[in-house]
């Protein structure tokens, strides 16, 4: 790992100022960033820890919206009793990873096989930053890429609470990332289906399934749909065709378990 300076500001404003220097990088729980630094895939001049900022902590609930501070760890969300979101958080990585990893870090990283992006996209959540609010549909911009500008910090994520929701994950047992994961959410404005782990473009909605489920919210409703293997991830864990099949199977399971 190349060396770097380290700062741990206590306010968002100080963190934004610290990130203004060249090649500075935000550090949340570090469960992806630290392994990345070890492999010398990134060489920031400075790491700015976001874990000392009180404003990024905590979970609140009002008017049908659950707002989670960006530096909230997976274990805190898992323990909160927030339905399928807590189940999702409780199955990220392993216990030690859940004690450090944060929701903001996961979203800013936008790993194509991460769990949280599926829940954020399926519920149409809003990602709040130091500068603005970004709708989930506008946030994810291809793998490891988001709408965040250089130095922009996620402060919280606001989830509209679904009428029903379920996240089904087919786990890659070595990494415990999703080989494929599907989140189905029944929202006031209709059903939304978000798929992670499958596409080379990262998390995305399966709109055909949404249309079918809006007409008939049952696993049978998607029985006649097919998922194209074009553009799906191919690696030693699964072929595109295998992942395409998993998308459909997991969607049906998620609907059945909603």
């Amino acid at each position: 790992m190349h060396n770097f300076d380290f700062e741990k500001p206590s306010t968002v404003a100080d963190a934004v100022a610290a990130l203004a220097s060249e090649d500075a990088q935000a550090l949340a729980g570090g469960q992806t960033l630290i392994p990345t630094l070890k492999q010398r895939l990134a060489a920031p001049s400075k790491l700015v820890s976001l874990t000392g900022i009180a404003d990024l902590q905590g979970i609140s609930h009002s008017d049908g919206v659950l707002t989670i501070g960006a530096a909230t760890t997976h274990v805190e969300v898992a323990a909160g009793g927030y339905g399928s979101l807590s189940v999702l958080a409780g199955n990220i990585g392993d216990p030690a990873v859940r004690n450090r990893g944060t929701i903001g870090g996961s979203l800013a990283n936008n790993d194509p096989s991460a769990d949280y992006p599926a829940a954020v996209l399926a519920t149409g959540a809003t990602i709040n930053t130091n500068a603005r609010s970004i709708k989930a549909d506008d946030f994810f911009d291809g793998i490891f890429t988001t709408a965040l500008e250089e130095g922009e910090i996620i402060t919280s994520v606001a989830f509209p609470i679904p009428e029903a929701s379920c996240y089904e994950k087919f786990e890659q047992p070595a990494s415990r990332f999703a080989l494929v994961g599907v989140c189905v959410a029944k929202m006031a404005g209709g059903v939304r289906v978000a798929v992670t782990g499958a596409s080379e473009e990262g998390v995305h909605r399966w709109r055909e399934a949404e249309t079918a489920l809006n007409a008939n919210f049952s696993a049978d409703a998607i029985a006649d749909l097919s998922v194209s293997a074009d553009g799906l991830i191919s690696d030693l864990h699964g072929t595109p065709k295998y992942r395409a099949n998993l998308v459909k199977v997991l969607t049906a399971r998620a609907v059945a378990n909603c």
């Binding site: 190349h2 570090g30 274990v75 216990p95 030690a96 070595a174």
Partner: protein, 155 residues
């Protein structure tokens, strides 16, 4: 270089570290607490598991500067005060929960964190909690037995 201080196994310690110094490296190389093992150094194996402010973390995936001001517990802090094995450690010995022993410090730290939050875990809960701790000798069977025995003794 940053000056850091923390308590490790109840004792206040301090040191000068680079930004990139890992907690596992600080414990082993600066404090000479070599019970915290570095197996994979890629966050997979859990041999480096320690507790930071009571929470299980991988010492190789946390910077030493991030533990500034924290209370850290390592395997060296797990035995009873008279130096005898703790209930968990003795259960691993009694039930052959180790063969080569390399993963054992992490296994003991993970077990301690499990039993503090769940005094009577099922086999499935034990296996899930150990998902970040890899053992290449035992096939886990006797580790599970050791943890079940420790749980019933700690009751």
């Amino acid at each position: 270089m940053s000056s850091i201080s923390m308590t490790v196994n109840g004792k206040t310690v301090s040191g000068e570290v680079e930004g990139r110094t890992l907690l596992s490296q600080f414990l082993r190389e600066d404090l000479l607490l070599t019970g915290t093992h570095i197996g994979c150094d890629t966050s997979q194996c859990g041999a480096c598991s320690v507790h930071v402010d009571g929470k299980l973390v991988k010492g190789c995936t946390m910077l030493a500067v991030e533990a500034d001001g924290a209370a850290v517990t390592t395997i060296e802090g797990m035995a009873n005060e008279d130096g005898s094995l703790s209930i968990i450690q003795a259960a691993f010995q009694e039930h052959h929960g180790l063969q080569c022993g390399f993963c054992t410090p992490g296994m003991v730290m993970a077990t301690d964190s499990l039993l503090k939050s769940n005094s009577d875990p099922s086999e499935a809960e034990i296996r899930k909690h150990l998902s970040g701790n890899i053992c290449r000798c035992t096939g886990y069977h006797n580790i599970i037995k050791s943890i079940q025995a420790a749980a019933s003794q700690l009751g």
